[in-house]
């Protein structure tokens, strides 16, 4: 990815080059490498911070315990359900909205700048906003529902509905993200291709399925990958809206690690969960990269 440049090597410049990289090395080591290695080590120990006891070597005991922990299994299930449903809704709706916004009129340009609002505000703020709107008794959404004769819904308090509420807020934040990125890749298509198809009498649907979709497919896959991996980082919204509840209905991997490690101070145990998390994330990333290389090969 770097353009190779002919460089006149002088010893002074080599020294400066290394000096220039040192701050980044130091910061990334302190905040990423050392903690990662440290966490990996801790995952083999029984260690609770609130007990005045030295860590006890536990082998793979923590890992065995995790797989027997129903809460962990539930968190994984919820997280996968959340990721698959949220990302598929975001991708399909986002792509449709991108096709609707791809002309060049003033109104659509205004809409595009408005679209950026939900995705740049803090997820905490988005969660708070919707927490107010969806309040069971005083929320405006329930009021509108009763206005048209529907029963009021306990959006956050009902364990069957809470996860869909989280999915909804996630969609509200990230459908714009998908739409804007897909839109910018649609606008990178040579317009002559589309004009030629239109002259030949292709319907908008044909233009979309035969030209736009195949050309933007690689970008769409990348966006899906980013969103899918981000869906496993969801923390802020859950923390503000449901705290993983009611019961454990919206407990997901990040909140699980947070609860075990920071709340219950089970340092070793939650490190083991984090290690499992890294492994599965790497597998997912590898799968997506595989998919993408395959596709690049097909295009040639």
């Amino acid at each position: 990815m770097l353009i190779s440049r002919h460089i006149v090597q002088s010893r002074r410049d080599v020294l400066y080059s290394w000096l220039f990289l040192i701050p980044v090395f130091v910061i990334l080591s302190i905040t990423a490498f050392i903690p990662l290695g440290f966490g990996f080590g801790l995952s083999f120990f029984k260690y609770k911070l609130n007990l005045q006891r030295a860590p006890i070597f536990n082998g793979i005991g923590n890992y065995i315990e995790i797989f027997q922990d129903e809460l962990f299994i539930d968190a994984v299930k919820h997280n996968i359900f959340f990721a698959v449903l949220a990302v598929s809704i975001e991708m399909s709706v986002g792509i449709v909205i991108a096709t609707m916004l791809s002309d060049d009129s003033k109104i659509t340009r205004l809409l595009i700048s408005l679209l950026m609002i939900p995705m740049i505000i803090a997820p905490v703020a988005a969660g708070t906003l919707w927490r107010m709107m969806l309040d069971r008794t005083y929320g405006i959404v329930n009021y509108l529902l009763t206005l048209v004769g529907l029963p009021a819904v306990s959006w956050i308090g009902d364990y069957r509905i809470a996860i869909y509420t989280i999915i909804f807020v996630d969609c509200w934040q990230f459908i714009p993200f998908v739409a804007i990125l897909v839109l910018s890749s649609i606008k990178a298509i040579p317009i002559t291709l589309i004009d030629a198809a239109r002259v030949d009498g292709a319907s908008p649907l044909k233009v979309f399925t035969r030209i736009v979709l195949p050309i933007t497919a690689p970008v769409i896959i990348i966006i899906a990958m980013i969103r899918f991996m981000d869906a496993f980082k969801v923390f802020d919204t859950i923390f503000v809206m449901t705290q993983g509840g009611p019961g454990t209905a919206t407990e997901m991997l990040p909140t699980y690690i947070y609860r075990q490690g920071i709340k219950f101070l089970r340092i070793g145990y939650s490190s083991a969960a984090a290690v499992l998390f890294i492994i599965s994330m790497s597998l997912i990333a590898w799968g997506f990269i595989h998919l993408r290389t395959k596709q690049l090969e097909r295009i040639g």
Binding site: L21, I27, I30, I117, L129, V207, F208
Partner: protein, 289 residues
């Protein structure tokens, strides 16, 4: 007239396959669902207390009060949160842009073997992928042992780490666009790498630096996970204080809405200032990964 028509047509990518009426309905719905929550937030921030609990909900407040903001300042330490948020976001932006631009410059123009540079660039890419929560527990433990808990510095450090990879990737793009002749000429004139970085190249990409700095500012302003883990009282930023309004007994509506406004609006202003840069920066950040 015809010329304008042609120009307009030539940029029309519209491939809406659901028909005109659906498009209008969807776009109007989109408009409402994006903007209404913000309208609700602002009006709630200025409503008097009994109007929160009125049924039907008050869409247009009849009385406007600033009591909620006063409460947020007096009872809930709005200014302390604001100060912390500003310190964290500004500190992070400065450190990240400085360290990031130095690294990016070296990766483009530095006197290192090309293979080594590619290894570093690849490393920064991988760094961008992993979720922050993975190191949450070890970082919590380390910061606690170093007695840096509840300190703005530890949050600046963590936020810098999360934003560095993206900033480096964006800055590599900026430095790459500079014509190499400039570098070559100043090298012939005997400038060292340091002098070229400070006096020649960086002033040209200044706007890019500002844009990435603002992106970093927004990211660290919005950050929540580490803010909630690493702060207790003194260093609490706004995002953590706002989450504190949601209690088991219910919401503390007025001050929560007021503080929500303070969290949201600086970001909107920054976005408005740098709209174009933002889209291109974001798509570059997303798609280069």
């Amino acid at each position: 007239m015809t010329k304008r028509l042609v120009k307009q047509q030539s940029r029309n990518y519209l491939c809406n396959f659901l028909g005109f009426p659906t498009r209008v309905i969807v776009l109007i719905f989109l408009f409402i669902i994006i903007l209404f929550p913000f309208y609700w937030l602002i009006t709630n921030a200025f409503k008097v207390e009994q109007e929160y609990f009125a049924s039907p909900p008050v869409i247009l407040p009849s009385r406007i009060t600033t009591q909620n903001f006063v409460d947020a300042v007096v009872k809930y330490d709005l200014f302390k949160g604001l100060k912390n948020s500003l310190l964290i976001a500004t500190g992070t932006s400065i450190v990240t842009v400085l360290a990031g631009s130095m690294a990016a410059y070296t990766l483009i123009n530095g006197a290192l073997p090309k293979k080594l540079k590619n290894v570093f660039a690849g490393w920064f890419l991988v760094q961008k992928m992993y979720p922050a929560v993975l190191v949450a527990v070890p970082v919590f433990y380390i910061i606690r042992s170093l007695h840096l808990m509840d300190n703005v510095l530890s949050l600046i450090l963590m936020n810098t780490s999360f934003n560095l990879p993206l900033v480096i990737l964006l800055m590599i793009g900026f430095y790459q666009e500079l014509p190499y002749e400039i570098e070559e000429q100043s090298m012939l004139d005997g400038c060292s790498l340091l002098q070229r970085y400070i006096y020649i190249s960086t002033p040209i990409v200044k706007l890019g630096l500002i844009a990435t700095g603002m992106l970093t500012f927004i990211n660290s302003w919005n950050e929540f996970l580490y803010a909630v883990i690493l702060t207790v009282y003194r260093a609490k930023p706004l995002t953590v204080s706002i989450a504190g309004f949601i209690t088991d007994k219910g919401l503390i509506w007025g001050p929560m809405a007021a503080m929500g406004c303070v969290v949201v609006f600086p970001v909107l202003i920054i976005m408005w200032l740098m709209q174009k840069d933002f889209i291109s920066g974001m798509s570059a950040g997303a798609l280069k990964g």
